[in-house]
Symmetry: C2
Subunit: 381 residues, 2 copies
């Protein structure tokens, strides 16, 4: 076992999250302040956190990527800010309405809902979803919450399989065990907040997060979950927010260790790091989404020699090599082992996929590769 | 209702599919013939169907894209054929092994399983998955079956929601109702053959196939499935084979009409056409995968004016316009209505997404758009 199912260190506990009423109230407070400014003929100002690398840092203590305290003010009477100010107000008003009416929307839906031509002008409120997306982040930061609690969400992606019983509080309290849904498993939702989806019961020793859908299917097929008491989560590439939230909750609510299994290439390793430390783009939300003590099981470039997989490596593309070079500089990849791994990728210019293990035999990954590494605690940290 | 739940026309019934033993036997027959040729010092020949446009046609009678009868012979002693001949033999032997040992594999797995260096040479059996994929199609055609029955499959994708009870015969006979799995629904598997997944019971009037995951979630959220007795299938873009097979089975086994709902652009319309008539790449398998009487509900470019969505259209990219022009020439888009629709796209250069309906209100699609069109039978055919 990858470590006993110990409690995560206390300092990693997630921040208390605000409830819908508190969030609606916080939005109202900002709106009232702006109305007061208008009424007293002052320039209305909206304050949010500064984004971008200048305000993002890696917190060694918690192992999380975090957003700093720098703030940005947006003045309505500044011609460079006016449009964005207007857009932000629209997003704030609409999410406030969602909260009051208990509705939820996809981020593409709020974009479409708010898009219209202003008065007699030819000016549209939004020209592109990237504009409303940016406003959503601004409101998240201003109110200090995650978008799911503004009743917004991105697209769902990911599957769940294993002895875990969920209850959907918003859907007749449906209660179902994800080991009893055939081999397909459950489609993870875009919103995985505890108020909506309750984790009723888990009978497992750890969570195995898997990059490719095909490898997820292989492990289901091989009976890996039952035999090793694992919860399997297939992310289908980069993990969606709902999937990250579920992994986070399994770690923090259910104290399950999290093991990540991806292709052996910069893209796969980055998927791992996003699950573990969070991402720069969502630096403000690492506490809700990340699992700083997640472990990486593979694929590593050392596996190539160890398991004689030289024949089934692939050449890395230029873009991958560039990515690996960038990652060398990320604070959260500064460990000796990851530096070695990244440098090996850059010099050998090869990558190795999860499914390349089929070169040994179809069941090799489930019979040998994973159990061996788990037993010997051979993880990258 | 889109038409009463009538039986599909008899001529559209799917071909009887061969069982695993018959298929193994067919592979053995081909192998024996080749061995005989070798033993009598003849040039061994492998015969399969010719692919590509020259052998693909649209069958007006059945409404299916079909592969013709032209065959291609591959001679081992022809230096241009030898490598591919060797590869095909490897794939044939391996799928025969899968059938005998009751194993299944993803198409990427068989590629990796078979990839190795030949003897003392520096020659690899395969350099790229496209090579083994091509051999798989050749074996499918030579044996006259679908890859799922060679125990192969592609990646899974797609979600299922509604009052439908499935049983997974290969997984403890798990029996579950897809209306009782919370709002996530069931993850559709890559293999949806009746021998594995049995459709036990369906309580629905029609199947609604939805292009985007977000719209699928919206309709789940709005209670559309219950209110209108619909089975919802989210394809998440182009439908995966497993998803197409499930749609096909719901039409043919359960006699449910199939309605398709995609973005209003050439890509979305093509998704529809693949579900309805099949695709050129898989022309040989249309009978197993397609639903020639599926109906198209939207989005159409007429919806833009009808619902005042002018503000929320998007500009078509050059690639989309090119695609629309190609589609004008496809026999299965030769109906008056589709020609009009495609020409409108080409001249107006706009597209309209499903989620653009949120511009009216979040629930507009579920309360008004779909029910109105279904009631009035406003479909494109």
């Amino acid at each position: 076992m990858p470590k006993k199912a110990t409690k995560p260190k206390r300092r990693l506990r997630e921040k208390r999250t605000k409830g819908p009423k508190e969030i609606a109230k916080a939005i109202e407070e900002i709106a009232k302040k702006i109305v007061r400014e208008i009424n007293s003929s002052k320039d209305p100002i909206f304050v949010t956190k500064t984004r971008g690398r200048s305000n993002v840092s890696f917190d060694e203590k918690t192992g999380l990527i975090k957003l700093g305290k720098k703030t940005t003010a947006r003045n309505f009477l500044n011609i460079g800010h006016a449009r964005k100010f207007m857009q932000t107000m629209l997003v704030m008003a609409k999410t406030h309405e969602y909260l009051k009416e208990n509705k939820t929307a996809a981020i593409r839906e709020i974009y479409y809902e708010l898009k219209h031509t202003l008065g007699e002008s030819k000016e549209n409120t939004f020209e592109d979803q990237s504009e409303s997306d940016a406003c959503i982040v601004d409101v998240e930061h201003a109110v200090d919450t995650i978008r799911e609690r503004l009743n917004l969400h991105a697209n769902p992606k990911g599957s769940l399989y294993g002895d875990i019983t969920l209850r959907d509080r918003m859907h007749n309290n449906d209660t179902f065990n994800c080991l009893k849904l055939g081999r397909g498993g459950w489609s993870i939702m875009s919103r995985m907040e505890p108020e909506e989806i309750e984790i009723r019961k888990v009978n497992a020793k750890f969570v195995l997060v898997i990059e490719t859908s095909a490898m997820y299917e292989r492990l289901v097929e091989e009976g890996f979950a039952k035999k090793h008491k694992a919860i399997l989560i297939g992310t289908g590439g980069q993990a969606a927010r709902g999937t990250r939230r579920l992994i986070h909750r399994l770690r923090y609510e259910k104290k399950l260790p999290v093991i990540v299994f991806t292709d052996g290439d910069p893209y796969g390793w980055y998927i791992y790091s996003v699950i573990k430390q969070g991402s720069m783009a969502l630096a403000a939300h690492s506490e809700y989404l990340a699992c700083p003590d997640a472990k990486y099981i593979g694929m590593t470039l050392d596996d190539v020699e160890r398991y004689n997989l030289e024949n089934v490596t692939e050449k890395m593309k230029e873009g991958d090599i560039k990515r690996a070079k960038e990652m060398l500089d990320y604070a959260w990849f500064k460990t000796k082992e990851w530096q070695r791994q990244l440098k090996m990728a850059i010099s050998k210019k090869i990558r190795i996929e999860q499914q390349a293990l089929a070169n040994k035999s179809l069941s090799f990954v489930a019979d040998t590769y994973l159990p061996e590494k788990i037993k010997n605690k051979e993880f990258l940290d």
